[in-house]
Symmetry: C2
DNA sequence: GCATTTTTTGACCAATTGGACAAACGTTAG
DNA sequence: CTAACGTTTGTCCAATTGGTCAAAAAATGC
C-alpha cells in the first residue's frame, strides 16, 4: 500500500483495444442514426460486448460521442491545414477539393456524424467551431486573399469559397442516398465520384481563373 | 340512422386549423431535433395543446412526419420545376440559384427537416427520390444539355451541376451554425446571404461561361 | 333547450432506454 | 497458491416516451 493517491494507469493493452473497438462501433451507429437515434445497446452489440461492459470503458453515451467528435474534427480539418501558399494557387485549391472529395468517398460515416451534429445546432462542439475552426479558416482565407491580390485567382470571397468547397464535396457523403437515387443504378455506381471530381474541378477552376 | 356507411366529413373549420397548427409545430420540433429526437409532447406543447388532443388529429408521430415530408417536397422542388428553356440559359440558372438561396434563408427549417431525412438514409421518402425526383432531374438535365449543345454554357455534367447548386445553397440553411461561427459576429449577420449570393453567382456563372 | 356529435383532457400503460451495482470471472505478481 | 486487481455480465431501476381510453367539455343541428 503506497502513500500516493491512486493513479489511474491506462492498461494500454486491453483497455486501448476495447476503447478503439467501441469507438468504431459508435461511429457506425451514431452516423447512421444520429445521437438521439442511437442506443447504447446497439453500439454495444456492434462492438461485440455487453452494455455494462461498454459502460466500463466509457462513462456514458455522451462521453463516446464527445470523444468521437473531438478526434474526428482533427482528421476532418487536416486537408485544410495543409493548404499552403508555397505551391501554385490553382494547384493548391484543386488538390484541396480532390482531397475533400476523397474523404467523402472514403469516410462517409465521419462526414455524416459531423453533419448530424451541425444540423442539430452543434450543441457539443459550438466552442470548437467559434474558436479553433474559425481561426483556422481565417488564416487560410488570408492566404487565399493574397493569391487574389497577386492576380493568381479571381477576386471573390474566400470564406464563401471555402464553404462552397465543403458543401459540394461533403454533399456526396451526407446526401449519398439522394445522389444515388437521382443518378440511378447506371450512373450512380462507383464511378460517381470520378464524375463528381471532374465536374467540381471544372466548376471551381474555370470559375476562379483570373482575368477574363 | 341512415343505411349509408359512415362518411368521414372534414369539419374544415376547426379540424383544418388545428392540423395546420400541429404541422407548424411539428416542423419546428422535427427540424431542430430530427425524427427520433423529437417527442410528441414537445410538438403538442409547441402547438398549444395536450398530447391526446394532438393524437386526435394525427394517428401518430410517423403520420405527422410523412404529411410534412410529402407537402415539403412539393414546395422544395418548385424552383427546379420552373427551370425553363424559354429564357436565356445563364439567366435561368442564375435565377434558379438565387431562388434556392432565398429558400435557405426564408425556410431553413424545411431545409433541415429534409436534410435530416436524407442523412438517415431517407427511409420514408426513398421511393419519391427514385421516382418523382429522379425523373424531374432527368428532365431538367436534358434542358441543360441542350443549352450546352447550343454553346450557351460550358459543357459539363448537368446532374452534378444540379447537385452543386443544391449543396451550396442548402449549406446556408443546414450548416447555419457553422457558417455563422466561422464568419463571426460581424460578417455572420444578416448580410451573409447577400455575400453568399454574390459569391455563388460568380462561382457558377463564370465557371459556366462558354468558350475561353 | 336538448340530443347528438366533435373536441379535449387526465389518467394510465407498455416498451424502450440510459445507467447503476454487485457478484462472478479472469489475469497476474509474488 | 493466493491476494489483488482488472474485466465482464445478469439483473435491476427510474425516467422517458409513444400511444390508449373513457369520461368530461364544448360545439352543433334541430
Amino acid at each position: 500500500m503506497s502513500i500516493e493517491a491512486a493513479a489511474p494507469r491506462r492498461t494500454t493493452r486491453i483497455q486501448q483495444e476495447k476503447r478503439e473497438k467501441i469507438l468504431e462501433a459508435a461511429l457506425e451507429i451514431f452516423s447512421a442514426n444520429g445521437f438521439r437515434g442511437a442506443t447504447i445497446d446497439q453500439i454495444a452489440e456492434a462492438a461485440g460486448m455487453s452494455k455494462p461492459n461498454l459502460l466500463y470503458y466509457f462513462r456514458g453515451k455522451e462521453d463516446m460521442h464527445t470523444t468521437l467528435m473531438v478526434r474526428l474534427l482533427e482528421t476532418w480539418l487536416a486537408p485544410l491545414r495543409e493548404l499552403d501558399d508555397v505551391g501554385d494557387p490553382v494547384t493548391e485549391l484543386r488538390s484541396y477539393i480532390r482531397k475533400k472529395l476523397e474523404m467523402s468517398r472514403d469516410f462517409p460515416r465521419e462526414s455524416r456524424l459531423f453533419a448530424n451534429e451541425i444540423l442539430q445546432g452543434a450543441p457539443r462542439i459550438k466552442e470548437l467551431l467559434e474558436g479553433e475552426l474559425r481561426s483556422l479558416v481565417d488564416e487560410k482565407a488570408k492566404i487565399i486573399k493574397s493569391w487574389m491580390r497577386a492576380g493568381k485567382i479571381a477576386r471573390t470571397d474566400p470564406w464563401h469559397l471555402i464553404f462552397a468547397i465543403w458543401a459540394t464535396t461533403q454533399h456526396y457523403a451526407d446526401f449519398d442516398v439522394q445522389v444515388r437515387s437521382v443518378l440511378g443504378p447506371d450512373r450512380g455506381g462507383d464511378g460517381r465520384f470520378e464524375d463528381a471530381a471532374r465536374f467540381l474541378e471544372q466548376l471551381f477552376i474555370e470559375g476562379l481563373k483570373p482575368g477574363k
